[in-house]
């Protein structure tokens, strides 16, 4: 019975592979093949949903072992990564509603995307995403879970950039992707630490041996996974990505960002309940971040004027509440809350298309006018507490600058030292050189004039300055060798530049990082 679990992610994955190959070779293209794509996807997902349901029933009657080992991926003396699945408890209980929600959204998409240019691409991504999420939920070890987690992130990127001909959509997709990568880094660190301290990357081992760990180790582990969960579930400070993600077709927004994708952080947290319970600090962090996010989502949600952003902030708020519940130790409540929430938001987003017709004649109740007059509060809410510009200011811009500096370093220093070939240019590269050659005089016609004057007075002044400069050059500078002047100037420039660079905060931060790395 347990062996069925491997097919749950495998079926949509196979569908995705078939669709991918079909598109690659141009077999799946245009309207005629739409029914094939749709029926293949629906069959695969329906079957895996049914499998999940039957597994759930079997579990209720005690017919499952709770896990299934499908094989070993790779092993060495110290590390074995097996392909194992969890077929019981929270993992299975969330897999069923998730699969159902995905199925409903997929059914909805079949008509919703009819005649779309990206129809087949959409279903490819949708299948891949379903496979990734189910893999993430059911996998018994961290590495496979992480693979599911990663692929679902990539799918989110692809679906946000569904209308990739629109620069805004493409930009938002990249930004969402990058934000999620921060969480991934932390997840990866968690896996590494778990291996170092516990010696295993199986979830069950982690949950069992966590009691033996020292408090600081347990806390560090918990915080690593918490950060990953915060990023995925749009908690502070990562929240802004969720509203940026509402670029794809409505059905995908419902499936990804209303229902499944955005809740996967919560699912991870609840699945690691025993880890968090070891550390009061981690629990406090969950509580604090959850509370702050709920307030943030609530206040920002008040000024939203478009339905997808409004629902986006409502989602952020509720996810904040769920993390709060986790932080307070109400794990069961949080689990129910997240599943119910996922269904409600999926439905709200699916029906958001007709929002204008549906809300004719009804309005949101305005906040009390006493509060509404607080202008700074309004601005903060409208500008979403400036989280995006703050991130740019503290993180994005310094990193970009660092990149530019490195590129400069490459071009001017590394290439010079390594003797990288200069772009191949003929001896006679430009007409200017030819002219120079013909006339025998350097044709530098942008003379070192300090000023360009017009009119008589201007020309007079210009002429005077040229004469004075000539005198200066002839009489004063001839004394020293010209190269010396140039060389000196050059050295001065370099010194200036180094000083400038070292004073930038980004380098200070870099040094701090390097020091930290060296210490550990």
């Amino acid at each position: 019975m347990d062996s069925l679990s491997i097919f749950i992610p495998l079926l949509p994955l196979s569908a995705a592979i078939i669709l991918g190959i079909g598109q690659l070779f141009g077999w799946l293209n245009g309207e005629k093949t739409e029914p094939f794509t749709a029926s293949l996807s629906l069959t695969a997902l329906t079957l895996s949903t049914l499998l999940a349901i039957s597994l759930l029933i079997a579990e209720q009657y005690g017919k499952t072992d709770g896990s299934y080992l499908a094989g070993t991926w790779f092993s060495s003396e110290v590390l074995t990564v097996s392909l194992n699945f969890i077929t019981t408890g929270f993992a299975l209980h969330t897999a069923v509603p998730c699969a159902l929600l995905l199925l409903v959204s997929m059914l909805f998409s079949v008509t919703h995307l009819h005649r779309e240019a990206g129809y087949h691409r959409f279903f490819f991504v949708f299948n891949l995403f379903s496979a990734a999420i189910l893999l993430f939920l059911l996998s018994g070890n961290m590495l496979i879970t992480f693979i599911g987690w990663q692929i679902s992130g990539v799918c989110a990127y692809l679906i946000i950039a569904y209308a990739y001909d629109q620069p805004i959509a493409a930009f938002n997709a990249t930004r969402v992707f990058m934000t999620n990568r921060l969480g991934d880094a932390s997840f990866l660190l968690g896996i590494g630490l778990s291996y170092t301290w516990i010696g295993s990357i199986n979830w069950s081992d982690l949950n069992q041996s966590i009691v033996d760990l020292a408090l600081n180790e347990a806390t560090t582990l918990a915080l690593c996974f918490a950060t990953a969960a915060f990023a995925k579930s749009a908690q502070l400070p990562f929240s802004p990505w969720l509203t940026r993600s509402m670029e794809g077709p409505t059905a995908s927004s419902a499936a990804f960002f209303g229902a499944v994708f955005v809740h996967s952080g919560v699912f991870l947290t609840i699945a690691l309940r025993s880890v968090f319970e070891q550390s009061a600090i981690a629990m406090t962090v969950l509580l604090v971040i959850g509370t702050l996010t709920a307030l943030y989502g609530l206040i920002v949600g008040l000024t939203q004027t478009d339905i997808k952003s409004a629902i986006g902030f409502a989602i952020i708020t509720q996810l904040g509440l769920i993390f709060m519940e986790c932080g307070l130790g109400f794990w069961q409540l949080a689990a129910w809350h997240s599943v119910i929430h996922a269904s409600i938001r999926a439905y709200q987003l699916l029906t958001a298309q007709g929002f204008i017709q549906q809300t004719q004649g009804i309005t949101a109740s305005l906040i009390p006018s006493r509060l509404a007059k607080i202008r700074w509060g309004y601005v903060a809410s409208l500008q979403r507490f400036w989280l995006d510009p703050i991130t740019d200011w503290t993180l994005v811009n310094p990193v970009l600058q660092l990149g530019k500096d490195l590129s400069y370093f490459d071009d001017h220093i590394v290439n010079a030292v390594m003797g990288a070939p200069a772009p191949a240019m003929n001896a006679l590269a430009t007409l200017a050189q030819l002219e120079e050659h013909q006339t025998g005089t350097p044709s530098d016609t942008e003379p070192d004039v300090f000023a360009r004057g017009s009119g008589f007075a201007g020309k007079l002044a210009e002429g005077t300055s040229v004469i004075l400069q000539w005198i200066e050059e002839r009489l004063m500078l001839r004394g020293i060798h010209e190269d010396a002047i140039l060389g000196g100037r050059h050295i001065g420039n370099i010194a200036n530049r180094i000083e400038q660079l070292l004073l930038r905060p980004r380098y200070l931060a870099l040094f701090v990082f390097i020091t930290l790395l060296a210490v550990f």
Partner: protein, 1009 residues
């Protein structure tokens, strides 16, 4: 800065008038609930159609015709043929289609050349394209790939056996080069710097010689370069306010689009100020102070400029004057835009986000629109904010890149001094550079802030780019080059079936003349395509109607029909009408043009809106679902728990039973404030009939030609409102729903009403019973309002019900894909035997019972402008969906009740979506009226309101004489041209070319019967 600028009343007036003029270029963007189909170029409707499109192109930069590639596809599908093209070419005398261009070797007329230019791409090639064609496609040795098979055969057959395709083509190319005194000197982009010494010297000499000024002839190359660059820069600045703004300049110089930042700010602010229902917290002070003042009050509190490190932002915000016009003047002055260019500059800015500008303008122009939001935004407010934000971000770019302020003079000074940098930048960011020069340019730009300014590096790169440009170095381009003249003639001659042999005796002047003809034809091409397209459809339709005329009955209502069904004139009802008629039940069908909107309006006005308990509950539930569930922190978890079962049901229903789900949703969400919820019975049963209502009903029956001969059962058939999103307001009037027509039926069954109608010559027999039904054209199902139906009528009713319940054989039309491209106004007999593919409005009108034309006059006044508006709305949304449409509807995101945007932060888009226009055949409305031509002439002479549509050719009018069946085309000068089947349709009925069967099936008109 600000002190220097003097704000005078004259300047303010200047700004005000400039903003008033914007009304003509901005799209009409009404909020969704006030949306009506309209001609988007309403302000140009006084001009002839083609002039209006040319003007719109000049002012708004929009293309008013389908892309040429699309027309060619239509040609491939056989929906335009050569005869149509020939006829369209002859329609415009200035084209001189029959003039003979070339006698020998074979007579070639203008029309021949035009046809080839229409069907095949004859545009000049770019150097890269030519290189590709020569090397990858081997074009100089093989036939062009698009040469039709017959022409190839002809080319090959005329020659002796030892000529092959290769020699034939190579000779042709060589001959053309010789004739035009050209040499084959095309170079690869990579090799364009590999000049031989001779080539380089020639180029240099050529360049020197091309200078007009004597001083420049002697100057060095660098001096000439400098001069040329400065001149280009000055020209670019001249374009400011024509089709260029400082934003564009920055994109060209730095590749940064300030709108990326400004757009988000503008969207957030404007939608917060104009929000109608969604946000609980809207811009404080928006009602009392207006948009600009309210923004000014909060602008200083925003720390966004600080975080984005915008220079001087505090000073700029603090200096904002009280008045929006003053702010515009201040910012324009500070940016140093020359006052003469202000009007244009404001237009450019407004056009950068046409959706929002249009919405603000609409709200300003319609003060009577009183939504739940009472802000009175003005364009001045909007542009003042836009200009201020622009300036903040422009300053940032200028400071970060060049350490200067964002003013024209600063930029001018800087680039006069650093002309090479300008050259490098403009080429890099416009994407003109070859791949191998890009990294060099990027490295230079990257190092700009980092090192001291290295003038020589810039100069060297500028030299390279200058040399690379090669042929374009000279200011005056050569008359002929291999890329344009030679290539064009090369392709043309192959399509004409002419080889080198044929061209032997043709002089260079004659070749040049051909090129001139070709060039002059370019701007007219799209229009010719449209004319040909329209003509093909017209001939097909008229031919079908002409051939079926013989069958048309002269008198109707004899013998007395069993039932009469009165539909709305919607094109989507055609299928059901055919089905009913074909069932041989003795059913007559009518298309009513105007379903007594006023009668309904009167009924709803009289009903005071008082919520019953039921409605109150509905209202509360909707508020809880749409708003509380979203924004109430404490209540929402509880609500979610309660809503869960319903949500799950809804989710499953939406997936498995989408139609049923949609209808439940629609029923739940019906707005409570309209007449639909008030019971039809009360108003219609008790109210005293007022004379206006009686007059309207009489008018309806007179127009339909139904004054006598009523059948025992008459059915009014409405449409559910959800069939017609988003045209809510007009749909409610033009296409009433079941309840609304039920009200009318109830009214008609009253003895007192019938008595009053009899006084108006509408005699309804006592055994006639009126009932109502609702036809869902999307779901294809009927709802019958059969309460109180007398026993005697049950049999007929049962038959009707059964016939309608049968599955529609005509096939489903696309949801909402209304393709109203034609309208037939006349008796049903005209079209009864013609299958019109559900693309024609069918309005019933009986000319035989309207000897003076007065009923037609009323009818046309009511429907002609409206149909034309619907048609043109679809037309423009199809040809330019970016500007007139709302893009892809799967990405739509509603902004409160205002409209939609694509995704999370696009401009406001309110037109028809791409999905709605995907099958629309973009052509002007074709109207066919059954009436005596002389009556129509009189009618048009009386009605000045109708004439412009015809005279300026915004629609095409045709007439059929009800007695003789003769057909006439009404010309723009209101004269009539006789249309004869033989002359016009032989060609039109040539078998359709093979192609996508589905798309070629569209728009076909076939005769059945």
């Amino acid at each position: 800065m600000s002190e220097a600028c003097l704000i005078t009343p004259t300047l303010r007036q200047h700004i005000k008038s400039a903003l008033t003029h914007l009304d003509q270029v901005l799209p009409t963007q009404a909020p969704m609930l006030a949306f009506e189909h309209h001609n988007p170029l309403r302000d140009y409707q006084h001009l002839p159609f083609n002039h209006a499109l040319a003007t719109a192109k000049a002012y708004m930069g929009i293309n008013g015709y389908l892309p040429e590639a699309h027309f060619r596809e239509i040609y491939q599908h056989g929906r335009i043929n050569d005869a149509d093209i020939a006829a369209a070419l002859h329609q415009d005398p200035s084209l001189q289609a029959d003039t003979i261009l070339l006698l020998a070797p074979a007579p070639i007329t203008h029309a021949t050349i035009y046809r080839i230019a229409l069907l095949f791409e004859l545009e000049p090639a770019s150097p890269t394209q030519l290189a590709w064609a020569c090397e990858e496609l081997n074009s100089l040795e093989t036939f062009q790939p698009d040469i039709p098979h017959t022409v190839r055969q002809q080319l090959l057959s005329e020659h002796t056996e030892d000529t092959t395709e290769k020699t034939l083509i190579a000779d042709l190319w060589q001959l053309l080069l010789n004739k035009l005194d050209l040499e084959q000197t095309y170079l690869h982009p990579e090799n364009r710097l590999d000049l031989s010494l001779d080539q380089a010297e020639a180029l240099l000499a050529q360049h020197k010689a091309s200078q007009r000024k004597v001083s420049l002839k002697k100057a060095t190359l660098h001096e000439r370069m400098q001069e040329a660059i400065n001149k280009t820069f000055a020209q670019e600045l001249q374009r400011l306010g024509v089709d260029y703004s400082l934003r564009n300049l920055m994109m060209d110089l730095c590749g940064i689009d300030i709108l990326d930042n400004v757009r988000t700010q503008m969207i957030r602010l404007c939608s917060s100020a104009l929000d109608e229902s969604l946000a609980a917290w809207q811009l404080p002070g928006r009602s009392e102070n207006g948009l600009y003042a309210a923004w000014r009050a909060v602008a200083g509190l925003d720390i966004n400029p600080f975080l984005q490190e915008l220079p001087d932002w505090q000073a700029i915000i603090a200096a904002l004057p009280d008045n929006a016009e003053d702010a515009i003047i201040l910012q324009l002055t500070d940016l140093e835009i020359p006052p003469a260019q202000w009007d244009g500059y404001l237009r450019c800015l407004a056009m950068e986000m046409p959706g929002w500008s249009g919405m603000i303008n609409w709200r300003e122009q319609h003060p009577e629109y009183t939504p739940l939001n009472d802000t009175k935004p003005t364009l001045a407010d909007y542009l003042a904010i836009r200009l201020t934000l622009d300036r903040l971000w422009l300053n940032q770019i200028c400071r970060d890149t060049w350490q200067i302020e964002a003013t024209l003079s600063c930029l001018q000074t800087y680039f006069r001094k650093n002309a090479s940098e300008y050259l490098v930048r403009i080429h890099l960011f416009r994407g003109d550079l070859p791949e191998y020069l890009i990294p060099q340019a990027e490295t230079l730009i990257l190092s700009l802030g980092a090192t001291h300014y290295n003038r020589n590096d810039w100069q060297t790169l500028a030299d390279i780019i200058w040399t690379w440009q090669g042929s374009s170095m000279t200011n005056s381009r050569p008359v002929h080059s291999i890329y344009d003249s030679a290539w064009q003639l090369f392709r043309l001659s192959q399509h004409l079936g002419l080889t080198a042999q044929h061209w032997q005796d043709v002089s260079k002047a004659e070749l040049e003349h051909i090129l001139t003809v070709l060039k002059e034809f370019t701007p007219a091409r799209s229009e010719i395509w449209l004319l040909a397209y329209e003509r093909h459809y017209r001939d097909t339709l008229l031919h079908a109607i002409h051939t079926t005329h013989q069958h048309a009955q002269k008198t109707i209502h004899q013998p007395r029909p069993n039932a009469q069904c009165i539909f709305s004139m919607d094109n989507r009802e055609e299928g059901l009408r055919l089905q009913l008629e074909a069932a041989h039940l003795g059913v007559e069908t009518f298309g009513a043009a105007n379903f007594f909107s006023d009668l309904n309006a009167a009924a709803s006005d009289n009903t005071a809106i008082k919520l019953t308990r039921n409605q109150w509950l509905k209202q509360t539930l909707r508020t809880l679902w749409h708003h509380s569930l979203r924004s109430n922190l404490l209540l929402s978890p509880l609500l979610m728990l309660i809503a869960l079962p319903f949500t799950l049901t809804g989710l499953i229903a939406s997936a498995f039973f989408p139609k049923w789900h949609q209808s439940v949703i629609d029923r739940l969400n019906q707005p409570i404030t309209t007449a639909t919820d008030s019971s039809p019975d009360t108003a219609a049963n008790t109210a005293t009939p007022n004379p206006e209502q009686i007059k309207q009903l009489a008018q309806l029956f007179h127009t339909l030609g139904l004054t006598t001969g009523f059948s025992p059962l008459v059915v009014f058939i409405g449409q559910p409102h959800q069939n017609n999103p988003p045209r809510y307001r007009e749909a409610r009037n033009a296409y009433p729903n079941g309840r609304q027509v039920a009200t009318i039926a109830l009214f008609m069954n009253r003895a007192d009403v019938r008595g009053l109608l009899a006084e108006q010559d509408v005699s309804i027999p006592n055994d006639t019973w009126f009932m109502a039904a609702e036809h869902d054209t999307d779901g294809k199902h009927m709802t019958w309002y059969s309460d109180n139906l007398p026993e005697t009528h049950h049999a007929t009713f049962k038959h009707l019900q059964d016939t309608c319940a049968r599955k529609d054989q005509q096939g489903a039309t696309e949801k909402n894909a209304s393709t109203g491209i034609a309208a037939v106004i006349g008796r049903r007999a005209m079209t009864q035997n013609v299958f019109l593919e559900q693309s024609v409005f069918l309005a019933s009108y009986d000319a035989m019972q309207d000897s003076t034309g007065e009923h037609l006059e009323a009818l046309l006044l009511c429907i002609l402008p409206r149909m034309s508006d619907i048609n043109l709305a679809y037309y423009f949304a199809t040809v330019d969906n970016y500007y007139f449409g709302s893009g892809n509807s799967t990405l739509h995101n509603a902004i409160s009740q205002l409209g939609v945007m694509e995704g999370a932060s696009s401009d406001l888009r309110n037109g028809l979506s791409k999905q709605m226009t995907i099958h629309h055949a973009a052509m002007r409305l074709l109207v066919l009226i059954e009436i005596k031509p002389n009556l129509l002439t009189d009618l048009l002479a009386r009605q000045a309101a109708l004439r412009p549509l015809i005279q300026q050719a915004w629609l095409q009018l045709n007439v059929q004489d009800p007695e003789t069946g003769e057909l006439f085309v009404v010309n723009p000068d209101l004269s009539f041209t006789h249309w004869s089947a033989n002359q016009n349709t032989l060609a039109a009925h040539a078998p359709f070319a093979a192609g996508n069967p589905e798309s070629s099936a569209r728009l076909t008109v076939s005769v059945h019967g």
